[in-house]
């Protein structure tokens, strides 16, 4: 019990197949209490499928998972009052008003009428929806819908919150606000598991798991992941990136090469010694390029850990 109090979610070899497709492939997870745990992965990497299995909505093809000390999906009914789930797609009722949506869910969760009203009022204030109370949910903006969905997911004060790409339909400013709300929840003791495909969001999480093609390819704190990246990152500033690219194409130890405006970002094998010198060797003297080694970011981590799958 003390262990499951520490680890809110644990899974061992969690796997889900759809026909011949392996959507989630032997995923082992440990999510500690009151953490914001990020699920980073491109579309189709199995984030939603994993969350659904953890909620007891999908049966695992293989493996096991315990959520809040309960086996899923067998004991999933025991989770219903303790877990909040914000689906990837907006799943509230578009033809009901903001208040009606929350009131309905409050009734489904058997919240007492007086408590329900005050809780809804609090949430509408907190998520800046008080002036939208009577508006139909279908006519809200992307950011408002997202805040309503979050309010709905936390209405019954769950211990554990699943957020599936909560910010995908939202502008950057709203996204920042949203993350403030998420950390507020974590401060209050809620454990949050949040999937995303935005690097800068992933970087905010306490802990991070990177998913690719259903496999968990790396996990740890964002800092750990960046520190431990198995590559050297080299940045080249140049007037003629196209020409430089051509010249670097055949370089030994080159893992990947990405262009960002006038900069080229190279990932080189750790074994490559004296990387700056090696790169300059490849370039013409008249290329006019400045070469330097830089700190890896999460994007680099991602490229490195998913490289085997891509090739």
């Amino acid at each position: 019990m003390s262990e499951s109090a520490e680890q809110v979610i644990r899974s061992q070899g969690l796997t889900r197949r759809f026909g011949s497709l392996v959507a989630v492939d032997h995923v082992d997870l440990e999510v500690p209490k009151a953490s914001v745990y990020g699920f980073l992965g491109p579309n189709g990497s199995g984030k939603t499928t994993t969350i659904r299995m953890l909620c007891g909505l999908l049966e695992p093809s293989e493996g096991k998972a315990q959520v809040l000390g309960l086996e899923v999906p067998k004991e999933a009914e025991g989770l219903r009052r303790r877990v909040g789930y914000m689906t990837q797609r907006f799943s509230l009722f578009e033809d009901l008003s903001v208040f009606e949506n929350l009131d309905f869910l409050g009734e489904i969760h058997s919240l007492k009428a007086s408590h329900r009203r005050s809780r809804i009022d609090t949430l509408l204030e907190r998520y800046r929806l008080a002036d939208r109370r009577k508006q139909r949910a279908g006519t809200l903006s992307g950011g408002q819908k997202q805040r309503l969905a979050l309010a709905a997911a936390v209405l019954h004060e769950p211990e554990l919150l699943f957020l599936d790409e909560p910010t995908s339909a939202v502008d950057p400013e709203n996204r920042r606000d949203f993350w403030e709300s998420i950390f507020q929840l974590a401060d209050e003791g809620t454990t949050v598991l949040c999937s995303t495909h935005y690097m800068e969001e992933a970087e905010r999480c306490h802990l991070l798991a990177i998913l690719d093609h259903g496999k968990l390819v790396a996990n740890g704190t964002p800092q750990q992941l960046m520190d431990d990246v198995d590559a050297t990152v080299v940045e080249i500033q140049t007037e003629d990136p196209r020409r430089v690219r051509e010249q670097l194409a055949g370089m030994t130890g080159l893992l990947s090469l990405a262009q960002l405006g006038n900069r080229l970002r190279l990932l080189l094998h750790r074994e490559v010694e004296n990387p700056v010198w090696q790169v300059e060797e490849e370039l013409d003297i008249d290329a006019g390029a400045t070469v330097q080694v830089v700190r890896p970011n999460l994007e680099d981590v991602f490229v490195v850990v998913t490289r085997d799958e891509v090739s």
């Binding site: 049966e59 219903r80 789930y85 797609r89 907006f90 033809d95 009901l96 309905f104 489904i108 969760h109």
Partner: protein, 387 residues
Amino acid sequence: MKLLESVGRIVAISRKEIRQLRRDRLTFGMVVAIPIVQLVLFGYAINEDVRHLRAAAVDYANTQNSRLLLADAHASQVIDLVRKASSAEELEEWLRRGEIRVGIVIPADYERRLEDRKRHGRSARPLAQILVDASDPATYGSVAGLLNLPPPERPGIQPPRWRYGSAISGVSNPPPTFEARPFYNPERRSAVHIVPGLVGVILTMTMVLFTSVAIVRERERGSLELLITTPMKPVELMVGKILPYVLIGLIQVGLVLGVGALIFRVPLRATPQDTIVAALVFITASLTLGLLISTIAKTQFQAFQLTFFSFLPQMLLSGFMFPFDAMPRPAQWIAELMPLTHFLRVIRGILLRGARVVEMRHEIWPLAVFALVMLTLAAGRFRKRLD
């Protein structure tokens, strides 16, 4: 406590459903428009020729000739004599309960009447009586063809020339063999027959469609994923979804019968309680069929197709479009499995023949069994899962 929470959730779901329905103008319009349009479309239907009507006879004379008459009537194929009654009262009772459509009463003085007919010709009394359930005009139309069936006589006694009718014996235009006594719809207007049937058809159409779409819509819009992560139980969702439509179904029944009585002067012989009881059982049966469909269909379009797929055979085989007795045996067996078939018999029985619901219980229990089977299948299929 648990039960109270359960009821609370069911009420919440029903209230949400009604709210959404009120805001969905098209669906809301259909609730009213379907019954009225159908009523006008089917109000003036065409009569059909019917054979093999279920019939029974009481033979007070019980002579060789009277038996021959019954045999001939049977051989005409218009009626199938399936039972013998002990009295005319029993015959009428069976007729009212819908167990038979036609009854033949042969009076004790049959032989006398046969003699009279030879002597007095035209002025003689009819030989026997035919009781017809005329609530279906098609039935009456077919039976009318039997009225002049020439009475057969035992070959030994009968003078051979008489066989060829009254012309030879000098008597012109003998009276009809049978005197017809149409029951329940003496004017034989088809609207009288169609309107109660229409109650069943409209309920079949709307009830199955509304429920089959109700859960699939949640699935399609993504709200099912939200709902199944709440403490709500499948049966609560089902009952909560069904309840508003039970009410809508009853409103439709009232609408059809009200308009039918106003425009087509359909006599309504049933008590309101009987009508409501019969309608409730059938509405429940249709709603549970819709629920089953909703657990099979993945999209609203599929739900619509499946609904139509279940609707068409009921429409064709239940006895609404074509007279039940005229259908081949295998079609009748299939029709017995359909709720509309039984409901049509019930509703016609109570509305047109003034039967009580308890008298129609032999048609009520198949509906109840149907609803139970469907609900069991639906609840068994519905899982709080997405796969």
